[in-house]
Symmetry: C2
DNA sequence: CCTTTCTTGTGAAGCTTTTCACAAGGCGCC
DNA sequence: GGCGCCTTGTGAAAAGCTTCACAAGAAAGG
């Protein structure tokens, strides 16, 4: 059942992305085939889960043998939509923004920063690698002109919604949001929130609300 | 049913952390009470979900009135284990590490960096804010001495497992891992992975594997 | 004091995701 | 060519999570 219109869960997609990363490693190691078991071990899940996830999109394996590393990798890239390049803009160039701009894994996976914005006059006009920081006031028009498809938001919480609105008006349909606030966007626009503090608090909880004061 | 030993799902804990953030905002706005509906709107979930999540740990509301903002906030801080300060170490001070070190929301929530490590001799000995970068070779002993409880890992994928092993030997039970690799740790140690590329690929998938080449 | 209005807490239902288990298929060796 | 071994693909069962719907409780106003 090669389902392409079946609703596929977010967690399944996350795992596919992880499999893709693992396959890259296997390829570099010169492995030609891989079993669901090995893939699962490296991805941190189970063999059954791997097979189920892949079966959502087709039958990519060979019984008795496993999956062909390169073939499966290409299939996953197609499924995830990363066999092409995405045009990404960064809004808000503080320390976090600067780190993301240089983050090597983004470009390696086909996500290319094509514009940077900030509202601080001190920063506007300065260069960051190959890009010049533009004024956030021209965000909407500039995003449209540049053909940006995805926006990475690293602005303070108070400014996030406003920027998101402008991005949506400019036709952006994907937002990766680092600001600690829930963005409201119209249907058809997808927001993916990265909540660093939440991740730490999940750890804190796990380490035991045993809560010995210090 | 105030369950403290019931197994509570990860997603529930994530939401509690978000509620905590929202409550902080409400408090700053001077609101004294809040209904599950309003809390849900601001957190990006549903009223029923809010009530269910809270009911996992007790009955904090007043029927007909809602929740007392300050009281609920204190309760959540207790549940999540953030009514105390956690001693955190950063390993790997590249751009991402530097950004996290200065990330204002961590300290504001009780996560305090008390040590920084790197293996690059150029960086060892240099200062970052109040801290001096230490040599990663002394990681294990130094973590133990400093009483570090949580490690934030921003090293290259190839070095991550090794560092994690040392941290575990030093008694660390919580790891926030930014390296694109699945860490193996013994039971009792919790790893929380932050996978930035995965987040972008989820976006890419959502924006339609419709895949118009560019 | 009684009624109205509001909102929680929660069993139960509904839905989604994961795990299980095994038939079917392919490869290689004898 | 046949046999044994290995691994996939997948229904079905199990587990887990979210939504629903409503009784019960609390406040406020008459």
């Amino acid at each position: 059942m090669p389902a392409s219109l079946h609703k596929v869960s977010d967690s399944a997609i996350r795992r596919l992305s992880i499999y893709l990363r693992v396959l890259g490693g296997l390829e570099r190691e010169g492995k030609e085939t891989v079993s669901s078991q090995v893939l699962a071990d490296r991805a941190g899940t189970t063999a059954a889960q791997v097979r189920k996830d892949l079966s959502l999109f087709g039958s990519f394996g060979k019984r008795g043998l496993g999956y062909l590393v390169t073939t499966l990798r290409d299939e996953l890239r197609g499924i995830l939509g990363v066999s092409r390049t995405w045009r990404v803009a960064l809004v808000g160039i503080g320390r976090m923004g600067a780190a993301l701009l240089e983050y090597p894994h983004f470009r390696a996976r086909g996500f290319e920063f094509v514009a940077v914005y900030d509202s601080d006059p001190e920063k506007v006009g300065s260069r960051r690698g190959m890009l010049t920081v533009e004024d956030a006031r021209v965000l909407e028009e500039s995003l449209r002109e540049t053909g940006v498809e995805i926006v990475v938001l690293t602005v303070p919480a108070g400014a996030a919604q406003e920027v998101a609105d402008a991005a949506v008006r400019a036709g952006v349909r994907g937002i990766m949001n680092f600001a600690p606030v829930a963005l409201k966007v119209p249907p058809g626009v997808r927001v993916n929130a990265v909540r660093l503090t939440v991740e730490l608090e999940v750890l804190s909880f796990s380490l035991g609300s045993v809560a010995d004061r210090d």
